[in-house]
C-alpha cells in the first residue's frame, strides 16, 4: 500500500492540516481482500448466542444478526466472491457478539473486514453516504478544526439550520445536538501546566510522600486520551491525570491520532490503518521505555488491545496491546485502589451507571459498580446490561436514529428506575445517548475516583 507519509504534527493539534484531508481523497489500500477469515468459522458451532446478544437484531429484522454476518457469511465465501451482504452496514460494531460467543469466533474481526470489503467494493465513492460515513469516521479531524474556534463551532453546529441541513442533505440526524467543544482542550491545558515534565515532578513528590512507592523507581503511564476527552470532555482527562499522579505515576501525553473506532465501524479501514500506524509507533516507543498505556475511553482501549492486533501488523502492535489498560482496570491490578476507595468517601451525586459494550468486551463491565459499591457518600446503580444503542457514529446516521433509540429504550427506562439522577459511563458516545434519552448530566468514573481519592 502506498501510504502517504505521515504529516508532522505538533502538540497544539495542528494535525488538522490539509494533509488529513488529502487522505480523504486518497486511494483505497490493499488491506481489503488480504485477510482470509474463513478459518475463523471453524470455531463456530452455531449456538446463536451471538444473535441473541445483538442489540440491532433485536429491534431491526433487516439485520440478520452476527452469526450470519460473521462465520456463516465467511464460510460461504469463495476466494473470488466480492459480494458482501449490504446488511453488514447495519451492524453498529458494539462487539457484544464477541463477548457472547462461547467458542472464540472472531466475530467483530469478521464484521470489520466484511464491512471494509463492502465499502471498498460496493459503496460508491461519490455517494453522499460514503462521504457522510467518512466524515463521521474522521470525527477527530473535524473536532480538531472545530476546537480551534470552539464558540463559533458550537454556535454553527448547534444551530437548527445546520442540523436540518445535515439531516436532509447529509444523513446526519437532526434529532441530536452536537457535543459542545470545550473552550480549552485537554492538550492545551496540559501544555500550559508544563507537559510531561511537570507530571514527572508531581509524581516524584507523591512517591516521596507515599510509603508504598520508591521515589527513584518511576511508575510511568502513557495516556491515550482519544479525541473526545481532548476536545469535548477535558475534565475526564484531567481527572485521569490527577488520579494517576496521586498514586505517583508520571503521565506522558504523546501526540496521537484517533483510535480508529469510528473508522472500523464505517468500514474505513484505510483511514484506520493510518491512524493506527501512527499510534502504534508512538506508543510502542514509550512501552519500550517502560511505560504502560492507559485509556479513559473503553472503545479506545478496545481498539488498541483487540482491533489493532486483529487487523494490522505494524511492528509493536502486539506489544502495545499487551501493555494497554483502561484506567480503572489499571489501578485495580496495580494499586490498592479497592482498599483506598473503601476507606474513602465522596461528595458526589448518586449515579445511574451504564457499562459500555466495549467495556463488556474487555471484561470491565462490572468493575466500576463493584469498586464504587464500597465507597461512602454516593450510590452507584448498574442500569443493566443493555446496549445504549448509539455505538459511536451509528446513532448519528439519520437512517439508524430510530433503531438507535429503540435499542436505548431499555437503558433509558432502567436509568429512570434507579435512585441517581446523574449518569455515569466510560464511553463518550454512550454518554451522549444517555444524556439525549434522559436529559441527565453524565459523568465519568475517573471523575468520581478523583472526588474520592484526590484532595
Amino acid at each position: 500500500m502506498s501510504t502517504p507519509s505521515e504529516p508532522p504534527e505538533d502538540t497544539t493539534a495542528a494535525g488538522a492540516s490539509d494533509d488529513d484531508w488529502t487522505y480523504v481523497f486518497g486511494e483505497h489500500g490493499d488491506l481489503v481482500g488480504e485477510s482470509d477469515l474463513r478459518p475463523g468459522a471453524d470455531s463456530c458451532y452455531k449456538c446463536s448466542s451471538c444473535d441473541t446478544s445483538c442489540p440491532v437484531a433485536e429491534v431491526d429484522d433487516d439485520f440478520p444478526g452476527p452469526k450470519f454476518q460473521g462465520p456463516e457469511q465467511w464460510r460461504l465465501k469463495r476466494q473470488d466472491d466480492t459480494d458482501i451482504d449490504p446488511s453488514v452496514m447495519d451492524c453498529s460494531n458494539c462487539m457484544r457478539c464477541d463477548s457472547a460467543c462461547p467458542s472464540g469466533v472472531p466475530l467483530s474481526q469478521m464484521h470489520n473486514t466484511a464491512r471494509a470489503e463492502y465499502v471498498a467494493e460496493h459503496l460508491s465513492k461519490t455517494s453522499v453516504e460514503y462521504w457522510r460515513n467518512r466524515v463521521l469516521a474522521n470525527y477527530g479531524t473535524l473536532a480538531r478544526i472545530g476546537s480551534k474556534v470552539p464558540r463559533l463551532t458550537n454556535f454553527v453546529m448547534g444551530s437548527r439550520l445546520t442540523r436540518f441541513l445535515n439531516d436532509r442533505l447529509f444523513g446526519i440526524t437532526g434529532e441530536r445536538e452536537f457535543p459542545e467543544f470545550a473552550t480549552e482542550t485537554f492538550r492545551s491545558w496540559w501544555d500550559d501546566r508544563g507537559g510531561d515534565e511537570e507530571s514527572r515532578r508531581r509524581a516524584r513528590q507523591v512517591r516521596e510522600r507515599r510509603a508504598d512507592s520508591d521515589p527513584n523507581d518511576p511508575k510511568r503511564v502513557a495516556y491515550f486520551h482519544g479525541d473526545y476527552s481532548n476536545v469535548n470532555t477535558p475534565e475526564v482527562a484531567k481527572a485521569m491525570v490527577r488520579v494517576f499522579e496521586s498514586y505517583g505515576y508520571e503521565v506522558a501525553v504523546p501526540d496521537q491520532r484517533c483510535s480508529g473506532t469510528p473508522m472500523f465501524a464505517n468500514g474505513m479501514l484505510d483511514d484506520a490503518r493510518r491512524a493506527a500506524k501512527f499510534n502504534v509507533e508512538t506508543f510502542h516507543a514509550l512501552v519500550e521505555d517502560g511505560y504502560d498505556v492507559v485509556c479513559s475511553c473503553t472503545s479506545c482501549s478496545m481498539a488498541l488491545r483487540q482491533e489493532y492486533p486483529e487487523l494490522f501488523d505494524f511492528e509493536g502492535t502486539d506489544t502495545v496491546a499487551a501493555h494497554t489498560y483502561e484506567a480503572l482496570e489499571y489501578l485495580r491490578v496495580h494499586e490498592s485502589v479497592r482498599e483506598d476507595v473503601a476507606a474513602a468517601d465522596a461528595d458526589f451525586p448518586d449515579l445511574a451507571y451504564h457499562a459500555p459494550c466495549h467495556a463488556r468486551n474487555q471484561g470491565l463491565d462490572r468493575q466500576a459498580v463493584e469498586l464504587f459499591g464500597d465507597l461512602d457518600g454516593v450510590a452507584v446503580d448498574d442500569v443493566g446490561d443493555s446496549c445504549s444503542g448509539i455505538s459511536g457514529t451509528y446513532g448519528w446516521k439519520t437512517e439508524h436514529y430510530d433503531v438507535s433509540m429503540a435499542i436505548g429504550e431499555e437503558m433509558f427506562e432502567h436509568m429512570e428506575g434507579v435512585e441517581g439522577e446523574t449518569g455515569m459511563t466510560e464511553c463518550p458516545t454512550c454518554a451522549m445517548q444517555m444524556e439525549h434519552g434522559t436529559g441527565y448530566e453524565i459523568r465519568h468514573p475517573l471523575e468520581l475516583l478523583e472526588a474520592a481519592l484526590v484532595e
Binding site: 470455531s43 449456538c47 446463536s48 448466542s49 444473535d51 441473541t52 446478544s53 445483538c54 437484531a57 433485536e58 429491534v59 431491526d60 429484522d61 433487516d62 440478520p64 444478526g65 450470519f68 463477548s99 457472547a100 460467543c101 462461547p102 467458542s103 472464540g104 504502560d292 488491545r305 483487540q306 492486533p309 502486539d318 496491546a321 499487551a322 501493555h323 494497554t324 489498560y325 482496570e329 485495580r332 491490578v333 496495580h334 494499586e335 490498592s336 463488556r360 468486551n361 474487555q362 471484561g363 470491565l364 463491565d365 462490572r366 468493575q367 463493584e370 448498574d382 429503540a406 429504550e409 431499555e410
Partner: protein, 435 residues
C-alpha cells in the same frame, strides 16, 4: 482460544492479584450455584467466566433425572439408586440434589417444587421431556394436564412445526386433544429475523400491519379463529423478554385460554431469562462477577492452587483465593477439550479418564452409549477432582457441573440437576473452608 490455554503464561509484571475467599471459574448453572452456595456461607466470592453465560443457550427447563436405562423416571430422587456408583449423584448424594434444587427455587421463579414427581414438558420437537423444574410460562403446558391444546407455530420459525409436533404428541398418547396450526407472525418479519426480534415486538407492543394494531393485538387476532375447543394455547418460547408476564397475561386474557410456552433449543429466550435471573441473584448475594476473559494459567505449590491468571485481551492478571471452584462446562462449554490424541480439562489440567483409541470415544448409533458423553473430571464426595490414582488434584479445588464426568446427562435428562447438586456441594464446602 484453546491453543492459548495450553501455553504456560505468567501474569504481566507489576500486577497484584485480585483477591477473594472463593473464586468460581465458569458462569453456567453450576458456577452460579456454587457461587451462591459459597456466598451463603459468608464467603467473599468472585465468579469469572470466559464468556457470557452458556445458560443463554439452555432450553431453560431444569431437569434432575428423567430417564434411567431408557425408561422415563417419575421420581428422580428414588431413581438415583439405579444409577451406577460412579455417577456424580451417587458421589454427592440425593441430599445434595435436594439442597441444590432448594437453592435454585429460592432464587428462580420456577415451578415444580410442589412435588417430587417429574413433569413432562412438551418440547419443540414434539416429544415430551421429564423435568423437575420449569418456568412459570411453561407450567400450563404440561403433558399430564388433560386440557385440550392448540399449538401455534410461525411460518418464519422452522424450528417449531406446530402441526407436526401436535401429531407427534398425539402418537405419544398424551391425555388430551391436541392440534397445531402454522401462522404468519405479526409484523411481517424478514424470514431470518432473530428470535429476540419476535420477543421485542411483543414486549414493546410495537405497531404492526401498516400501523393498524399493536403486535399483541395482531397476534390475538391471528390466533383467535383457531382457538375453538382449545383450553390452552402453546407458543414457541418467544412471548416477550422484559415484559414476558404482561405479554402472556394479555394473550391469555384476550384469547380466553391459558397461554404457555414450549421450550426451544438455542437461541433460547427461556435460557436468557434464567441467566438474567440468576445473575441478579449473584448481585444480590454480593458476588463479584467478571465475564469476558479466560483463565489461562494456574500457579500451585503442588498441594494447593495459589492463584490463577486471567488473560484480558493481551494482558495477564492474577486472581487469588483460598478456595477454587471449577465450573467451566464439558465438551459443549469447552471446559473439556480434545485433540486427535487425547481429552483434557482446560484450566487446571485435571485428570479426565477416556479411552485411548479415539474410535472408542463414540458409539455407532447417533443415540448410542457414547463415551464422550461421560467425559469429565471425576470428583470425590467433597467435590474435589481426582487424579488418576483417585487422590484430590488439589486440596482447595472443587469441580461442578458438566466439567464433571461419569454421567451421560443428555440421555438421563439430568444435566441441570447434576449442576445444581455438584455446584451446591462445591460452593458450600468451599465456603465452609474459609469462614
Amino acid at each position: 482460544m484453546d491453543a492459548a490455554a495450553y501455553t504456560a503464561t505468567t501474569p504481566t509484571e507489576g500486577t497484584v492479584a485480585i483477591e477473594d475467599d472463593v473464586l468460581v471459574v465458569g458462569g453456567g448453572l453450576a458456577g452460579v450455584t456454587a457461587a451462591l452456595a459459597a456466598a451463603r456461607e459468608g464467603a467473599r466470592v468472585r465468579l469469572v467466566s470466559h464468556k457470557e453465560s452458556t445458560l443463554r443457550q439452555a432450553s431453560g427447563v431444569v431437569d434432575a433425572l428423567g430417564v434411567v436405562d431408557g425408561d422415563l423416571v417419575t421420581n428422580p430422587f428414588e431413581a438415583v439408586e439405579r444409577l451406577p456408583e460412579s455417577h456424580p449423584y451417587r458421589t454427592v448424594g440425593t441430599d445434595a440434589l435436594r439442597a441444590g434444587l432448594d437453592l435454585f427455587d429460592s432464587v428462580a421463579d420456577y415451578e415444580g417444587s410442589h412435588t417430587d414427581a417429574n413433569a413432562l414438558v412438551p418440547t419443540h420437537g414434539g416429544t415430551v421431556k421429564p423435568t423437575a423444574r420449569y418456568p412459570v410460562s411453561v407450567a400450563p403446558g404440561l403433558a399430564s394436564d388433560a386440557r385440550s391444546t392448540l399449538l401455534v407455530g410461525f411460518e418464519t420459525l422452522p424450528d417449531f412445526d406446530a402441526p407436526q409436533a401436535a401429531a407427534h404428541l398425539d402418537r405419544a398418547g398424551v391425555p388430551f386433544e391436541v392440534r397445531g396450526v402454522t401462522l404468519p407472525f405479526p409484523g411481517d418479519l424478514r424470514a431470518d429475523a432473530a428470535i429476540t426480534r419476535y420477543a421485542d415486538l411483543l414486549d414493546e407492543a410495537t405497531t404492526v400491519d401498516g400501523g393498524r394494531v399493536d403486535a399483541r393485538t395482531a397476534l390475538v387476532e391471528r390466533v383467535k379463529p383457531h382457538c375453538s375447543g382449545a383450553e390452552r394455547v402453546g407458543f414457541p418460547a418467544l412471548l416477550g423478554f422484559e415484559e414476558r408476564e404482561a405479554v402472556r397475561a394479555e394473550l391469555s386474557d384476550r384469547l380466553g385460554v391459558d397461554v404457555f410456552e414450549v421450550p426451544m433449543g438455542p437461541p433460547s429466550l427461556l435460557g436468557m431469562r434464567l441467566a438474567e435471573r440468576l445473575y441478579a441473584a449473584l448481585d444480590d448475594a454480593g458476588v463479584g462477577v467478571e465475564t469476558g476473559n479466560p483463565v489461562v494459567d494456574v500457579t500451585s505449590d503442588g498441594e494447593r492452587v495459589r492463584e490463577v491468571t486471567v488473560e484480558r485481551t493481551h494482558t495477564r492478571v492474577p486472581y487469588a483465593a483460598e478456595q477454587y471452584v471449577l465450573a467451566t462446562g464439558g465438551l459443549v462449554g469447552k471446559g473439556i477439550v480434545s485433540n486427535r490424541e487425547a481429552v483434557r480439562e482446560r484450566v487446571f489440567d485435571c485428570h479426565v479418564p477416556h479411552p485411548a483409541d479415539r474410535y472408542d470415544w463414540s458409539a455407532a448409533g447417533a443415540y448410542g452409549d457414547h463415551a464422550f458423553a461421560r467425559f469429565g473430571v471425576r470428583i470425590d464426595a467433597e467435590g474435589r477432582p481426582q487424579d488418576a490414582d483417585g487422590d484430590p488434584e488439589y486440596e482447595n479445588l472443587r469441580a461442578a457441573g458438566s466439567v464433571v464426568g461419569g454421567a451421560d446427562v443428555a440421555a438421563e435428562k439430568s444435566a441441570s440437576g447434576v449442576s445444581l447438586a455438584t455446584g451446591y456441594v462445591a460452593g458450600r464446602r468451599a465456603g465452609e473452608e474459609v469462614t
